[in-house]
Structure formats: C-alpha cells, structure tokens
C-alpha cells in the first residue's frame, strides 16, 4: 500500500510537471502580446520593450521556462504581470476557497438528488416513477447551467427577493451568509451533475441487481433494504465513483460560466482571464493547481476502490 501510494504520488508530480510544461510552451506559441494589451493607451515601442525586459519576457522561451521552473520548485509561482503584480499564490489562495465552496455544495446537492433518484429508478424499472426520474434526469442534462442560473436568479433573487443575485461571502462571515450566496449557483451546477450520477447509478444498479450473487442473497431471505444497502449499492458504486471523481475535478475548473453569472471569481475564471490576457504566471499557477486537483481526486478515487471492494488490492 505504501509503495503504491509512493508510486502514485511520484506519477502525479510527473503528470503535473508535464501539463505545466506543455501549457508553458503552448501559451507562448499562440498569438497575443500581454505587454501591448497592458500598455494599450500608454507608451510606445520603447516602453513596450522596456516593460518586456523588466518582466523577463525578452529572454528566450527556454530561459524563461528555466527561471519559472526553478522558482516553482522553491514555492514561488511568480506575480501577475498586470496591475500591481499581485503574487500568483495570493490570487489562487483567494479564488480557491470560492471554487471549493461552490463545488462542494454543488457536489452535495448532486449526491442528495442523484443517489435516491438512481436507486428509485433502478428498483422501479420501467414504471411511471422510473420514467419520471429519467425525464427529469434528461431535463437536467439538457439545460445549460448558465441558463438555469439566470432562471434561478430571476425567480429567487429578482422576483421573490429571497436570495442574493450575485457575490460570495466567505464562511468566516457567517455560515448562513455563505450558504445563501452559494445555494443558487450550487443548484445551477449540481443539477446537471446529479442527472449524470443518477443515470450512472441506475445502470450500474440494474447490472448488479441481475447478478448471481444478488439472486443468492435474495434466496437467503435478506430484506430488500439489506439487499440494497448491504450488497447492491456498494458493488454498484465502483464505476459511479470513477465518474464522480472525474466530474468533481471538472467542477473545480469547469464552473466558470456559472461563476460568471453569479459574479464569483473562482479558479476557473482566474484561469480563463489569465489565458485571455496572456498573463503567463497566473495561467501557469492556475494550471498547476487544477492539474493537482485532477490528479489527486483520481488518486482518492483509486484509494476508495479498496475501501469499497476489499477484492481490489492497491499493490
């Protein structure tokens, strides 16, 4: 187990390094000059050249990479090249709690909807209940999250005025304030996510429920509750957890559209704006964090396999 963990950790760092390196060179290959954009209404070619020299952007791309990599190894992700040159670590540290809060709440909402919906749908296959759940699942999947977000704002913020339309309040300013600012965006994101998981649970459960060991369990006289929660669900969850792991990581970086609608600056928006502005250090730092989230959520999923199914050995 320890050697497995060690191997996976080393592998994870290699993946992160490869992603960050790829992004470093790709970003410099695409057109767009951050300094020209920054000095849009000030300065001429001399000022542009001077600023490039100051930012180290006049050096060869390999030298720039060497400097960035060496600084990164020392824990220095650099500073944004725009505005007051805020440290990238600070930009990420301020955005990450917003994204994690939103993603976790969206994840919880999705699970609360998806697990019962998936179970009901599978155990009452081809009934009106199953069809209704399926219909809602397809609706959830088909609705663009930004559209649902706007509808939720119009109903709950603009018309009923129960919840705020925009913004984020940190948890240390009160749990209720934190919750009421996040509930609408979390529903907007979690709905589509719940639909995917519910469909996954349904198909996985149907497969398990028709297996031989379930027939044996039923023959032993187990109650339907024991059958479902003792045998069927744990076995059905293995493929579901794989999807949950990937989907959760996607939530972290992919909530950008909904974050935009609710004016919450999370990690996704940091990344997108960094790319649009060619703010190289910010993009590098954000990519590093996003790839770390992907890699480690997959690692956690792999570790969970062993817990859910003792037959799976992690060595």
């Amino acid at each position: 187990m320890t050697s497995y963990m060690l191997r996976r950790l080393i592998g994870s760092f290699i993946v992160m390094w490869a992603v960050a390196t790829l992004v470093f060179f790709m970003l410099r290959l695409v057109p767009g000059d951050p300094v020209a954009a920054m000095l849009a209404d000030a300065g001429g070619p001399d000022e542009i050249a001077a600023m490039k020299a100051r930012l180290g952007l006049d050096r060869s791309v390999f030298v720039q990479y060497g400097i960035w990599f060496s600084n990164m190894l020392q824990g220095d992700l650099g500073s944004s090249i725009y505005g007051s040159r805020i440290e990238v670590a600070r930009i990420i540290a301020e955005a990450l709690p917003r994204t994690l809060s939103l993603s976790l709440l969206a994840f919880l909402i999705a699970m609360v909807i998806a697990i019962p919906a998936g179970i009901i749908s599978a155990t009452r296959r081809n009934t009106m209940t199953d069809n209704t759940v399926s219909l809602f699942a397809f609706l959830g999947l088909s609705m663009p999250d930004f559209w649902l977000a706007i509808i939720l704002i119009i109903i709950f913020a603009a018309n009923l005025q129960w919840l705020p339309a925009i913004g984020y309040t940190p948890m240390d300013e009160g749990l209720w304030q934190w919750f009421r600012h996040l509930i609408l965006p979390a529903i907007a994101i979690g709905t589509a996510f719940s639909a995917i998981i519910a469909r996954m649970i349904r198909s996985s459960l149907l497969e398990v429920l028709n297996s031989d060991y379930m027939r044996t369990a039923r023959a032993k006289g187990l109650t339907p509750r024991m059958l479902m929660f003792g045998h069927a669900l744990p076995n059905a969850m293995i493929p579901v957890i794989t999807v949950i792991g990937i989907a959760f990581a996607l939530l972290i970086s992919g909530a950008v559209v909904v974050e935009n609608v609710f004016a919450i600056k999370g990690l996704g928006r940091v990344l997108i704006e960094g790319i649009l502005n060619r703010d190289y250090p910010v993009v590098q730092g954000a990519v590093l964090v996003v790839s770390a989230i992907f890699v480690f959520s997959n690692l956690i999923v792999d570790l969970l396999y062993g817990l859910i199914d003792p037959r799976i050995r992690l060595n």
């Binding site: 000095l39 209404d41 500073s79 007051s84 925009i166």
Partner: protein, 592 residues
C-alpha cells in the same frame, strides 16, 4: 423688494456679457488671481470658466442657479452597494498602473489631484487651493491646501507632490510617464507651494496632466504608505487624501470604501460606506440591480440592450449624457483595395486615387443611424471625428453635414464603381477585427456594407490582447475600435490622429510602412499648434480644422460617440455636481 422678471433678465444678460468679456489671448480669461483663488472660485470666475469652456447656459445665470446643483437631497450616512459592470476583478488601483475608466472611477473617490474637472468639464482646484499661470503659459504655481492628512494620518505637503511627480516620471514604475514629458521641472517653493515649468505651453495641462482621475500621472500618492506596504499592496488598498478610504479589497470579490472623517471639505462625503463589486456579464448586473443587491452601476458602459429595460423600471433612474470618446472602423492604408500611401495630396487629387475612392466609399457607406439603432439600441451619437460632443466647446455641431464621410449611399456606390467595383462586383472579402464582446456590432456593420455597397466583410473576433497586436503591427484589413475618457481635444488628436500618435502603428515595421494608419502634415502642424495654444477661440478653430481634415481624408471611418449612461436605484440621490461624464464620483451622493 421683489425683483421683476425684466430685472432678472437684465441681470442675466449682464452676467452673460461679463462672462464672455475676456481677451481670448489671456490664459486667465480676464480674471484676477484673487478671483481664481480657492477654496471656491468666485461666481464671476466660475461663469467665465464655463463660458470659456463653452458650457455656460441660462440656467447657470438664474439666481441660485450655481448652488442647487451641488446640494444633495436625502440624509447623510448609510451604505451604498455598487456593481462595477463588465469586469471580474479590479486588478489595481495604483494610479501609476491604472489605464481603465472603471479603475479611475474608484480612485477618484479615494485619491486627490491638484485639479479635478467638474460636471461641466471645467478644472477646479482639488488639493490646489490657488494657482497662477505665467503670461507665457510656461509656469504654473500652485498653492496647496494646508492641514490635510492622508488616510493613514501622514501629513500632506509639497513633498508628496514632488514624490508623485518623480514616481510618475519613472517609466519603470508608471505607465503614464509620457504624460509628464512636457514638464521641464517641478520645484518646491515652500511646504505648501510648488511650481511646474513646462517645455512648451500646453493648453491641456490642467485638464489632462493634473486631473486627478483621467490624468492619473499627478494623482497624489502617499510615500509613507507605499514604502510601508509595498507597491503591490498599495495597488489594492491605496492611501490618499480623498473623501473615502479603502478598508478592504479582496481580488474578485470587491472593494470596500469608508468615509474619511478628515477630508478637507467637512460637508463631504455623505455616505458612510461604499461596497463595490465587480460584475461581469449583462444579465447578472441587471438582475443584481433589480433584486436590490446593488443600487448603483459604475465601471464599464452599461450594455445598451439594458437601457430600455431599466427605463421601464419605476424603481430606477436612468440618466443619459454625451460620453467622452469615439469609435471607428479603422482601414489599413497599406492594403489593397484601400491602399493610400500619401494623405498629403489635395483633396481633388486624392479623389482620383482608387485606393482613396474605396476608403471614402467605405466611410460614406456607414449608415450610422441604422448602426446605432441596431447595435446600440439607439443609445449613441453619430461620429465624424475624434472630437466628441462632451467636449462641448470644441465639438463642431455641423461636422455631420460638412464631412466628406456624411452618409451618402449613392455617392459611396458611385465611388466604388469608379474604383472598379460596380455594385461591389470583384471587391475582395475583407476581414474586420472585433473583440468577442463586439462581434454583434461587427455583424451589424457587415450587414450595412452588404446592403449599401454589396461587398462582403468577414467579421473576425479576436481577444483584445491579440487584436491590439495586429493593430499595432498594421496587420489588419479593418478593425472596429476607438477611445474612451477623452475630455480634452488632445485625447483625440494627439493620441490618435498625428503621424507620431501612440496608437498609429506603433510596433509596425517602419522600413515597410513609413507611417501607420494615417499621416498628414497639416493635421500634425495644426495639432502641434492647438496643443500649446492657450487662446481658447484660436484653439477651437485649430482643433476643428484638424478634426475636419481627419474626417475628410478618412483617417478611419468615424462611426459613433458613446453616450454616458448612469443607472441607479431611486433610493440613491446623485446631485448634478457628481454627474461628471465618464466618472463615478460619490462624495456628494446620499441615500433616501
């Protein structure tokens, strides 16, 4: 004794005549130093400045007409929640680094300058209590307000002006160093007195260089705060002498301002606190205002499609004024079929040049009314030059009729036919660079060109950082873009229309392209002259002449001037004194 209407009219007539009775060559407008001294200008001085700026109206002459505007209704105190449109994060508030209207709208509430323009775009003393301009227009001596402190308690004096000047002159620190290029020296005369000596007279010195908001170069910063907190943190929580102090700035979440109790005017500010939240996207900011999360919109211009919706809402106030800026269709003179390599030839000679015929046809085909209706929902003013209607005095009301660019579909088609493209046949497909946000506007333009000239324009959205690079390198056919925050003619003429303008193909291959998008010797000399002319009437004449040439010779297809739209909840009182186009000064704002 009750005065008769005739008496009031007579009095108004006398005030009007007096206000306009100054020697145009006199940079002091016939006023004595005493009349120009602060903290408040005399009524006579104010009327003369308004007259000189072309902004004097009958309303100003009515008894009490100058005071009502400055008074806010409602009571002091309370928190104003603001949404800053079209931005996800206020990256910096350090005046040395800010380049966007949405940033200097905030700093104008936090930091001070020596001067600040009022709602008529007339410069007023801010930290300057008094100032004297020498007869040759080369030295400006300022007496500073005494007894002021920065938000951190440090005293304000002449050393802070010197420090700001040195910091802003350093191109390693400030992006506005060029704004101070005409300053030969700045001397400390006393603890509360400084003197600027200019290399050449500069008519825009007070409104462009020393203005606290749009100028930025001489927006006074606190040396103590910068040294203590470092430049990066100062960019987030700048310390100044303005009416509000920054108490919190969380990136992507917003800025909190609180009343500065020791502001030099004890009557201001009225509000206790302002919370500014950056909100990107059209629908989110509308929903936030309608839901009551915010009560005031600042930042980037409000999306025109929202204006009618806001106007229909009885809980909101929508106030529209001319905006300071222009937008154009830029045409690359180095590319066929609109190639023109010499803009100095007389007009009749240029009209024989096929490339110029095409350029003029493209400009004449701009159905500005349709464009404004379809792309801006009717909220903009047709544009024919870089001088905008907000510059009232300098703006030529008749340029729409006089310009060669006036909409003339038959004339445009005839020119195109003469250039070898009858009904647009054989005309190559040109690409027009737009930003992703203005793609719709580009499509409206492409449709107009198709309809009027029968030609196809391919709209190519590019991120700003990419599009600006193509523009600077002269690697484009057409580009939709322009300028904002233009309060002085130099913002249009010097920055955009001269051969040496900073936007005129500044990173082009100079061996290949001797100039960027335009070069005309007469425009250059007229602009050189107007920018150092203190005689306002003469300056106006020079500005309008240069503007007319840039329009007639098609520097670009001038398209429109934006309007300045202020939207806020009815619970917010915005007095006229705080209604400065392009700015969001909140020091006199109250809540009902």
């Amino acid at each position: 004794m009750k005065r008769s209407d005739a008496h009031i009219l007579k009095r108004m007539r006398a005030l009007w005549d007096d206000a306009h009775d100054f020697d145009p060559k006199d940079p002091m407008f016939g006023l004595t130093a005493a009349e120009m001294s602060g903290p408040a200008l005399s009524r006579r001085a104010t009327l003369r400045l308004l007259a000189a700026g072309g902004a004097l109206t009958a309303a100003h002459l009515m008894p009490g007409g100058m005071t009502g505007a400055a008074q806010a209704e409602g009571k002091s105190g309370g928190t104003l929640n603001c949404g800053w449109a079209g931005v996800a994060e206020i990256q910096t508030l350090d005046p040395a680094q800010i380049g966007q209207v949405l940033q200097f709208q905030i700093t104008s509430n936090v930091l001070s300058g020596l001067m600040h323009i009022d709602n008529n775009l007339v410069p007023r003393g801010d930290l300057a209590e008094d100032w004297v301009v020498s007869d040759d227009g080369l030295t400006y001596t300022f007496k500073l307000r005494q007894g002021l402190t920065f938000h951190n308690g440090d005293p304000f004096n002449a050393d802070d002006v010197i420090y700001t000047y040195e910091r802003s002159s350093n191109p390693d620190i400030s992006i506005h160093s060029k704004v101070l290029a005409n300053v030969a020296s700045l001397e400390k005369i006393g603890d509360y007195e400084v003197r600027f000596t200019l290399k050449n007279p500069q008519a825009s010195f007070l409104t462009k260089t020393l203005e606290r908001a749009s100028g930025r170069a001489m927006t006074i910063v606190s040396r103590g705060a910068i040294e203590k907190m470092g430049a990066a943190q100062y960019g987030l929580t700048p310390v100044g002498t303005g009416p509000f102090k920054v108490t919190e700035h969380v990136l992507g979440q917003g800025v909190t301002l609180e009343k500065f109790a020791d502001y030099y005017d004890p009557e201001r500010p009225k509000l206790d606190r302002i919370i500014i939240r950056p909100i990107d996207g059209v629908e989110p900011i509308a929903a936030a205002l309608e839901a009551g999360d915010i009560q005031y919109i600042g930042g980037n211009p409000i999306a025109p499609q929202l204006i009618d919706r806001f106007k229909a809402n009885p809980d909101l106030v929508v106030d529209i004024k001319p905006g300071p800026g222009f937008q154009s269709v830029w045409l690359n003179p180095w590319r066929e079929p609109m190639k023109v390599t010499d803009f100095n030839r007389p007009m009749d000679e240029m009209l024989k040049d096929k490339g110029f015929m095409v350029r003029l046809a493209l400009a004449k085909a701009l159905d500005r009314d349709t464009y404004i209706k379809q792309a801006h929902f009717g909220y903009a003013v047709p544009g024919y030059g870089s001088i905008n209607p907000a510059m009232a005095f300098y703006y030529d009301q008749e340029i729409g009729e006089k310009s060669q660019q006036a909409f003339d579909p038959d004339g445009a088609r005839a020119l195109l036919a003469e250039a070898g493209f009858p009904d647009g046949k054989g005309f190559p497909e040109l690409e027009m660079i737009v930003t992703p946000g203005s793609k719709r506007n580009g499509l409206v333009l492409a449709n107009i060109y198709k309809k009027v000239l029968g030609i196809t324009i391919k709209v190519v959205p590019k991120e700003f950082s990419v599009g600006i690079q193509d523009f600077n390198n002269m690697e484009f056919d057409m580009r939709l873009g322009g300028s904002g925050g233009d309060y002085d003619p130099d913002d249009g003429l010097v920055d955009w229309m001269m051969t040496t303008s900073k936007f005129n193909g500044r990173t082009r291959d100079k061996a290949k392209y001797p100039f960027g998008y335009f070069s005309n010797d007469l425009v250059d000399s007229l602009t050189d002259e107007e920018s150092v002319t203190a005689d306002l009437e003469k300056r106006k004449m020079l500005v309008q002449e240069a503007n007319q040439i840039t329009s007639d010779k098609v520097t670009c297809g001038f398209l429109y001037h934006p309007v300045d739209v202020l939207v806020h909840s009815k619970v917010v009182n915005v007095p006229a004194a705080n209604r400065i186009p392009g700015l969001a000064d909140l020091d006199r704002v109250t809540l009902n």
